[in-house]
Symmetry: C2
Subunit: 208 residues, 2 copies
DNA sequence: TTAAAATTCAAACAAGCGTTTAAAATAGCT
DNA sequence: AGCTATTTTAAACGCTTGTTTGAATTTTAA
């Protein structure tokens, strides 16, 4: 295992757990059992390391997501909103085969990135992977064409908030579910619970 | 204006903007034009200052919220979910008269607190202000009794995520709405948009 | 007015941060 | 083998962090 990958593996777990600001390079390098200076040697800076951690996941996810949403758009049949959101399920769960707990880690990273660091990750994702966003918007528009661009804007951001926030605290929530309901839930179970919620939210009657 | 209040006023704005970890005591005290040591003298520690900032809002909000949700529960008529979520509107907007931009600041603080600091604010709120949570749960149950406790648990957390995440990035979203749609939106407008969304989400068909 | 209490202040503290340096070690190549 | 380029290492850098100190100042009350 290369030093670079040892760093990435340790960093993604710590970042997802304690946030980007909350994780120091010393924690990462001691967890990875490499020298402190290795981060700056291989990645240049902490900021670049964060980008590298996210890129590793996005490069795995984004083609599958584009494909899934793309076929939904090119199909003749009009998809339901449930179809649109369900299209995320397989690409996201595929991250679990790509890496242990990959789905959960990635979604937590996403949540961290949106609130930490004053939105620089938002910029990074929307500029580096714009196709995912436009494909998603198009798919939702096809499923619910009555929604105006402005209403769509708000509801998609509400949806993003639901997903990202839920996933960034999913470990705590899964713990509570285990204690209060004796129910063993995994990340796939949470995603399946959230899909009808966001689909119904986006499909809500248009407010006057 | 007392030193204590000068600190609280400066802290809440900086905390809501840059998070708890992202704001230093030196930024706060220089913004408040007080000595650095004043924070530790008056509050004991940074953590206690964070609690004090949140308490000032919660003490203003929680009785109004309990009352609004309480009457909803004690009324004979069965409320709609829209009624339940709308009950938050007045108490939240009241924070604007209590303080300039109070609603927005408080909701952003809430969002920060849920992701920063590994959930210690979640513990603080649920243990210090438990009535708000139980009243809310009861009101939702009355509006939608078919929902099981477990499903309710998940959907209420999805809702919390939607609200908190949206509000913590509401400034950025309001900016985008201004640029893309020439639409001047304020925090009350965002709240009114989000109510039908979360109401529909909670009311979504029960997943098998 | 005077003594005690509360508050403010400048300064320093120890600890942690990301980053840089230059020497040591390793690897790749002719 | 011997030279070059790459990588690893320990140490230190400069800076920021939250907190503490003890003296100066202001406020309070008798």
């Amino acid at each position: 295992m290369s030093t670079k990958n040892k760093i990435l593996d340790a960093a993604e777990v710590l970042f997802s757990d304690k946030g980007f600001n909350g994780t120091s390079l010393r924690e990462i390098t001691s967890q990875a059992e490499v020298n402190l200076a290795a981060v700056n040697y291989h990645f240049g800076s902490k900021k670049e390391l964060i980008k590298a951690v996210m890129s590793r996941y996005m490069n795995e996810l984004s083609p599958r997501l584009e494909s899934a949403l793309g076929t939904l758009c090119s199909d003749e049949a009009k998809p339901s909103l449930i179809d649109v959101f369900s299209a995320f399920l397989d690409p996201l769960l595929h991250l679990n085969t790509f890496k242990d707990n990959g789905t959960s880690i990635f979604l937590q990273l996403l949540g961290r990135g949106y609130t930490d660091s004053q939105g620089f990750l938002r910029w990074f994702l929307t500029t580096q992977y714009p196709n995912v966003f436009t494909n998603f918007t198009n798919a939702v528009h096809k499923a619910y064409p009555e929604l105006s661009a402005e209403e769509m804007f708000w509801r998609l951001h509400f949806t993003m908030g639901t997903i990202v926030f839920t996933m960034s605290s999913s470990d705590a929530l899964i713990d509570i579910a285990l204690n209060d309901f004796d129910r063993q839930v995994d990340i796939a179970g949470v995603i399946k619970q959230v899909i009808p919620y966001v689909a119904a939210g986006v499909a809500a009657p248009i407010v006057k």
